[in-house]
């Protein structure tokens, strides 16, 4: 298909976002911005891996945070028990991925027998069981309160990557070359690699098969695709990637708890991001994650300002009160599903089709 003007717009936006993320530590030299950038990287991967399921294959799962959590808790527990070291990160990550694969295979095999909507409910049930387990096994998981631990020394803010003559940490464009910077680039690089892998998969012949299964399962079976095998495969694949993303996030945050890695609220965030960005296109994941994370961190401030600015008008300030930001997000979400069912990326890309 010939590219549309919309597609070109979207791809340009991608390049801009990639560049912004790449140079984030230098462009935005405040602490919150770096947190936001790292979170965006992780969520791009997480959302993209979820999009493999929901957007490409048409599988609705509510267990995606569960896999994210396996990865996060794997690394977190290993780092806590074994102390800060790369061996702990590697072991934790591997265990997380392995666990994810086992659970995903088991759930995938159940999906042989039940309808899509039941599958969604089973994943919901499985996710809530794991959430409860994490809270009950508080000896190792820290329960509701979660666990704090140290990341490998390289990522400690006090670590100096390069020093000047005085032995003080070297600065480039005002940015200290310390462990925090290393940690950010660790997050950025791993996310980028995972995202590119997924991107590659979606344009491969396999990607088309996944879409075919979404469109017409019976016909895909009839022309010779073992639908169940493919479904289970993507389910495992996306679970593994979510788990990896979880491990990276755990290393970055140095804290893992139900609210950062397992809770249903994250699942809803992921859904929102997928839908806002646009299902069935990897670019959608990027757009969705960027917008939502930004909203989570900055919308409140904006609304606070708006609320003050409109203080004289009745009613408006209350609705614009910063604490009601979720309300607005919900409304925006509904409007999107209503008017742009393909999300921002999907809608843009369908625009201005070239003759």
């Amino acid at each position: 298909m010939k590219p549309t003007y919309g597609t070109i717009t979207v791809k340009t936006a991608m390049l801009v976002i990639a560049a912004l993320l790449l140079f984030a530590p230098f462009l935005f030299q405040d602490i919150r911005a770096l947190e936001v950038a790292a979170r965006i990287c992780i969520f791009i991967v997480l959302v993209a891996s979820y999009d493999l399921l929901i957007g490409y294959t048409g599988i609705v799962s509510f267990a995606h945070t569960m896999f994210f959590g396996f990865g996060a808790y794997g690394s977190a527990i290993a780092l806590k028990q074994m102390g800060p070291g790369w061996d702990a990160v590697a072991l934790g990550t591997l265990v997380g991925v392995a666990l994810s694969l086992v659970v995903a295979t088991a759930i995938g095999l159940i999906s042989l027998r039940v309808k899509a909507i039941f599958f969604a409910m089973i994943t919901l049930a499985a996710a809530s069981v794991v959430l409860v387990l994490a809270s009950q096994l508080s000896q190792i998981t820290g329960g509701e309160d979660g666990i704090t631990y140290r990341a490998p020394d390289l990522f400690k803010p006090a670590t100096k990557l390069a020093v000047d003559e005085d032995g003080k940490v070297l600065r480039w464009f005002g940015v200290a070359l310390n462990g925090k910077l290393a940690a950010y680039y660790f997050v950025f690089a791993t996310s980028l690699v995972m995202f590119l892998v997924m991107l590659r998969i979606t344009v491969s012949p396999l990607g088309t098969v996944l879409k075919a299964i979404r469109e017409n399962e019976a016909r895909a079976e009839a022309i010779g695709y073992r639908v169940v095998a493919y479904r289970t495969f993507v389910f495992c694949l996306s679970a593994a990637i979510a788990s990896l993303a979880g491990s990276v996030y755990a290393v970055w945050l140095k804290y893992t708890g139900p609210d950062t890695a397992l809770s249903f609220a994250i699942m809803i965030d992921i859904l929102l991001m997928v839908v806002i960005g646009g299902m069935g296109t990897m670019w959608g994941a990027v757009i969705g994650a960027v917008l939502m994370v930004m909203a989570q961190y900055y919308l409140r401030d904006l609304m606070g300002a708006a609320s003050e600015a409109t203080a004289a008008i009745p009613l408006l300030p209350e609705l614009l009160a910063p604490d009601r930001w979720l309300f607005w997000l919900g409304i925006i979400f509904i409007l999107l599903v209503y008017f742009f069912p393909k999300g921002i990326a999907g809608t843009l890309m369908a625009r201005g089709r070239r003759a």
Binding site: I54, G58, V60, I110, R113, V114, K115, A116, I117, F118, A120, M121, I122, L124, A125, A126, S128, V129, V132, I268, L271, V275, M279, E318, R324, L326, F327, L329, G330, I331, F333, I334, V337, Y338, P341
Partner: protein
Amino acid sequence: MTNLSETLGRWGGVNLLPLALAAVAFVLIGAPSSWVTLTVAGLSMGMMVFLMASGLSLVFGLMDVLNFGHSAFISFGAFVAATVLAALSTWLDGGWMLASAALALALLAAIAFGLAAGLFFETVIIRPVYRDHLRQILITMGALIVSEQIILAVWGGTPVSVPRPAFLEGAWIVGDVSMEIYRLFAVALGLAVFAGLMVLLNRTRIGLLIRAGVENREMVEALGFKINRLFIGVFMLGSALAALGGAMWAGYETLITPALGGEMMIVVFIVVIIGGLGSIDGTLLGAIIVGLTANYIGYLAPKLALASNMILMMAILMWRPSGLRPAVK
């Protein structure tokens, strides 16, 4: 094997499940008074969940709409009823006539609110996404977020206490057996609603029309029916049932928070799935089974209480992949 299942089928098939459950529990529990107490508690719990779940099942079974926002109606019903009861708290202390009038008003207010909210929800939120499950899940999730925020804005985040008429307080004690009066009331109301729904669906053409409309709206229109009005009607009914369920639940909980609907949602979903999505009798069956199991397991093996619903659901889905009594599709 086939003989056995046929005989069972003649005796009621899966409908016997609750009886079997109760029989096994009787043996395991040993103490008859505890068994009766638990059984009544389980049944009534099931009935209250049924009230909440029936609307979801109805809307799914007839309209093929998966409403994740259903829990918002439950919460709204609870808060509306609580507000009315609080406003009429003087009536509650003024003899049983006035007290029951207050209760009736509270339930009616919840129902009225459910009807109005259902009307709004159907026309604004659901109408554009009929037949598209994925978008239904998403848009109703969005509606859920918005509704929860509205509840937070209106009623605040702190728990609200729910006064209830004195004649529903306390328990009815027979020997060592105690049965909460409020629960018995819930059972009665649940049965009445069940009977009403069965008549509506099986004795009128409405059920048929709506099922047909779900499959092919245009064709029903082409046969001369205004399908929109019917759909709105069903949706309003479903929402009203949810609100009624929420109101009853508020009276049971006596202290409610905006999280109420969300907390009930998982069990509501489990019930609807166990029963077989979309059938009212299946929902009742599922609700009773869930209610009974929760109480029996809670007594016999409290450690398992948490997972009992999930295990129950998985087991039933393994045995019957589309639930116990799926709507004929």
